[in-house]
């Protein structure tokens, strides 16, 4: 058991140790300073030349959003039509069929928004073409979209009175060429040498030692798995994601993949410190995020390692903890740790089935996604956190009787309205979405859909409610993990979560960018004795309190009906 604890402590420390220099590097890249990856510059020039882009043309915040929404719109249509006709497109060695319109709608939105909720299984529901040319492409560009939006906010926070917030295309391309692609390349090579397939050969048929016939799905998976982790995407090649022994063959790959899940998200916090030259502020943000993260990690690991009391009552031993839905090569501690890292970061890949985890783990995982800002998804995690900062500045300003200011700009009614709306959007989507699903389940149990509502749930009672709550939460948080027992490939879930995913992605990008853009145009007020200091531990506690009050408390009643009730009823 000791080696399991050492394994996760190592994973976390290694992540932070890598994140600090990586953050510095990211700040350098977007500052236009020299870095050792400057050999990518000719490739970037070629991309700009081909696309007719002038990377030095400055954009204001509205132009940034127009560019972002235009290109995302294109990707959505491209993805949707590829999925609708994937059966006839090339690279389909396993002869998998087209996706149905509602499934294609859900899947396209899901990958476009960095969510990667998968209502299909990769082995039978996608082709090598759609895996590589739709999913993996969107893995890269959706992560880059998040980083680009975040860079707009960074620049708006730094430069005094400005409409010049850099070039969106430049941010997008550099996020890929300088960060996501090189990092994914390294991870993919490590995975390949540990047994993850890379070739384009289709299924293999094997007669096993005992004499059974089995078909083994393969494919060029290593490349995709690398970016799915580094870009906090989470949508895997195979249906069971990183629990699959090809996606995650051993403990070494588990370490590499799990570090990749949170690495960029953490390093972006440090990037903020270097980019704004406000390292103390970065440490305050990191401190708040880490506190939230640790509060979730410990109970989950404790619950999984201690095992399932209902199984203990059957009289067998649980030396390896609760093992339903888990793999022997990872064990309960690393599975619980992954479960928390993947939900705090909006990654959503899994190395064990969350549906079978203990209720305390489910509580922690859902809570992570409801906050969605403890590290958070690449780029967008910080955007969510930025909203909480604005609210915290405003509230503490009122409390101590000072004008609320952040980074030398007054925060006034207009910004506060946007921030409040965005902060309330997430609870609204989750609670209304879950309520709608519950209503349909109770009142239309026999509706004639691909799966009747009465057959949606894989588990009875409180856990069944958790399956629905988890699905909507994961959609709104753009996470993509699921309580996979829920039969979600039918028109109700495909369409409802499709809309939740879409709204839950783009409004929380538009809001912070707008606030930052508006603030950047305001008069700069130099710091004085009357300014509320934002880079102190006191302010960190204030942010934490705002997160708990605004986000957490709105979800408490729903969580009580699901994991909390299950925890107290399990025997």
């Amino acid at each position: 058991m000791n080696t399991e604890y050492i394994g996760i402590i190592f994973m976390y420390l290694a992540t932070v140790a890598l994140a600090i220099p990586l953050g510095k590097y990211i700040a350098k890249v977007f500052n236009g300073e020299k870095t050792w990856l400057d050999f990518m510059a000719p490739l970037e020039r070629m991309i700009y030349k081909f696309s007719g882009i002038d990377p030095n043309r400055e954009m204001n915040w509205k132009q940034h959003l127009k560019a972002l929404l235009t290109i995302n719109c294109l990707w959505l249509f491209y993805a949707f039509f590829c999925l609708l006709f994937q059966g006839r497109l090339p690279l389909n060695p396993d002869h998998n069929p087209n996706q149905t319109p509602d499934l294609a709608f859900n899947t396209a939105l899901s990958f476009l928004t960095n969510t990667n909720l998968q209502d299909y299984s990769g082995e039978s529901g996608a082709t090598y073409y759609t895996q590589l040319f739709v999913f993996m492409f969107l893995h890269f560009v959706s992560a880059a979209t998040g980083i680009a939006a975040m860079m707009v906010v960074f620049k708006a926070m730094r430069d005094k009175i400005t409409d010049k917030l850099g070039n969106f295309w430049d941010y997008l391309v550099k996020s890929i060429t300088r960060l996501l692609l090189p990092l994914s390349f390294v991870v993919a090579v490590i995975l390949a040498f540990n047994g993850t397939p890379t070739s384009f050969k289709g299924k293999d048929t094997v007669i096993t030692l005992q004499g059974d016939t089995t078909h083994v799905s393969r494919g060029p998976a290593a490349a995709m798995i690398a970016i799915k982790q580094t870009g906090t995407n989470g949508g895997g090649w195979f249906g069971v994601n990183s629990a699959h022994p090809f996606e995650n063959p051993n403990y070494a790959t588990n370490i590499v993949e799990n570090i990749s899940i949170i690495l960029i998200s953490i390093s972006l916090v440090f990037a903020l410190g270097y980019y704004l030259n406000k390292k103390k502020l970065a440490w305050v943000i990191f401190g708040v995020m880490t506190t939230g993260f640790l509060i979730m990690v410990f109970p989950s690991i404790h619950a999984e390692v201690n095992g399932n009391p209902a199984i203990a009552h059957l009289g067998i031993s649980q030396p390896g903890g609760s093992m339903e839905g888990k793999e022997v090569r990872f064990g309960p501690a690393a599975s619980a740790y992954w479960g928390i890292t993947t939900t705090v970061t909006s990654n959503g890949s899994v190395n064990a089935m969350h549906d079978s985890m203990m209720p305390i783990s489910g509580l922690a995982q859902m809570f992570d996604m409801m906050i969605n800002a403890f590290y958070g998804g690449v780029g967008v995690g910080y955007l969510n956190f930025y909203i909480f900062i604005i609210i915290a500045v405003f509230i503490s300003g009122l409390m101590v009787g000072r004008t609320p200011e952040f980074m030398g700009r007054k925060i006034e009614a207009r910004e506060m309205k946007i921030a409040s709306l965005i902060a309330l959007l997430h609870p609204f989507l989750i609670l209304v979405g879950t309520a709608l699903a519950t209503y349909v389940l109770v009142h239309f149990p026999n509706a004639a859909w691909a799966t009747k509502p009465s057959a949606w749930l894989n588990n009875p009672g409180f856990h069944g409610f958790s399956e629905m709550l988890y699905q909507v939460t994961s959609s709104s948080a753009n996470n993509g993990s699921g309580y996979a027992g829920l039969t979600a490939n039918n028109i109700f879930w495909n369409v409802s979560t499709g809309f939740v995913i879409f709204i839950g992605r783009f409004l929380p990008i538009i809001g912070p960018v707008a606030i930052a853009g508006i603030l950047a145009n305001k008069k700069f007020v130099p710091e004085s004795a009357g300014t509320l200091k934002t880079d102190t531990a006191t302010f960190g506690i204030m942010i934490f309190a705002v997160i708990i009050i605004v986000a957490a408390l709105s979800f408490f009643p729903a969580l009580t009906l699901g994991p909390i009730a299950e925890h107290f009823s399990i025997k």
């Binding site: 080696t3 991309i47 696309s51 882009i53 560019a67 235009t70 294109l74 990707w75 082995e123 039978s124 993996m136 492409f137 560009v141 391309v173 390349f185 090579v189 390949a192 047994g195 397939p197 070739s199 384009f200 030692l209 005992q210 059974d212 089995t214 083994v216 490349a223 195979f238 069971v240 629990a243 022994p245 063959p249 370490i255 095992g307 399932n308 199984i311 059957l314 067998i316 031993s317 030396p319 390896g320 903890g321 609760s322 093992m323 339903e324 839905g325 793999e327 022997v328 690393a334 899994v350 064990a352 079978s356 209720p359 009875p460 009672g461 856990h463 958790s466 996979a484 027992g485 299950e566």
Partner: protein, 188 residues
């Protein structure tokens, strides 16, 4: 909007070529130099490929080490977990039935010696491993049916135990397929 469509289209096109074309091809080329040549590493017995080292397979016969229960019946083109919640009464019944089956086939074993992994389904449904303890509780049955000394079976387990990474990280484990190949090789 209009001014953004043309660059967006062209940028998407060239990024697709680089990210979805060149990048996976480069990884595939590097994959050729890996142990399984990028196709997945296989295990052979008497010159026949009997499976993939990393992909678990079904072992239910008494002369073999059993694999863990699988919600996918070890079909490696449709891996799946059971997704049963820990409080689900039907699930607890399933586990109970598996315990009874195990005790019937392993009469020398006491109930409290059975590790949970042998009666719970894995996340992938393709778990290739057991903990060393999960293999050891099966020694008596295998030794009896194969008519070989128990020490010989224990030795196979010890020889095939994969220790934690660098002796530090993660749980120890054994690969069930490799154990069973070693058992069959004893006969020769």
């Amino acid at each position: 909007m209009k001014t953004y469509i043309a660059p967006a289209l062209k940028l998407s096109l060239i990024l697709i070529v680089i990210l979805s074309g060149l990048y996976p091809l480069a990884i595939a080329a590097i994959g050729k130099f890996t142990p399984g040549h990028g196709d997945g590493e296989t295990v052979t017995y008497k010159g026949r490929v009997v499976g993939y080292a990393n992909i678990g397979q079904k072992f239910t016969k008494d002369q073999y080490f059993w694999s863990r229960p699988s919600a996918a019946n070890y079909q490696a083109d449709a891996g799946a977990g059971s997704n049963k919640g820990p409080s689900n009464p039907d699930y607890i019944k399933d586990v109970k039935a598996r315990i009874d089956t195990f005790l019937k086939h392993n009469p020398d074993i006491k109930r409290e010696e059975i590790p949970a992994e042998l009666v719970t389904a894995s996340g992938s449904g393709l778990d290739p491993n057991l903990s060393p303890a999960g293999a050891r509780v099966q020694v008596a049955r295998i030794a009896k049916i194969r008519n070989i000394p128990a020490e010989q079976v224990v030795k196979i387990i010890d020889d095939h135990t994969e220790n934690p990474l660098f002796g530090l990280f993660g749980p120890p484990k054994v690969n069930v397929l490799k154990l069973n190949v070693a058992l069959d090789e004893l006969k020769r």
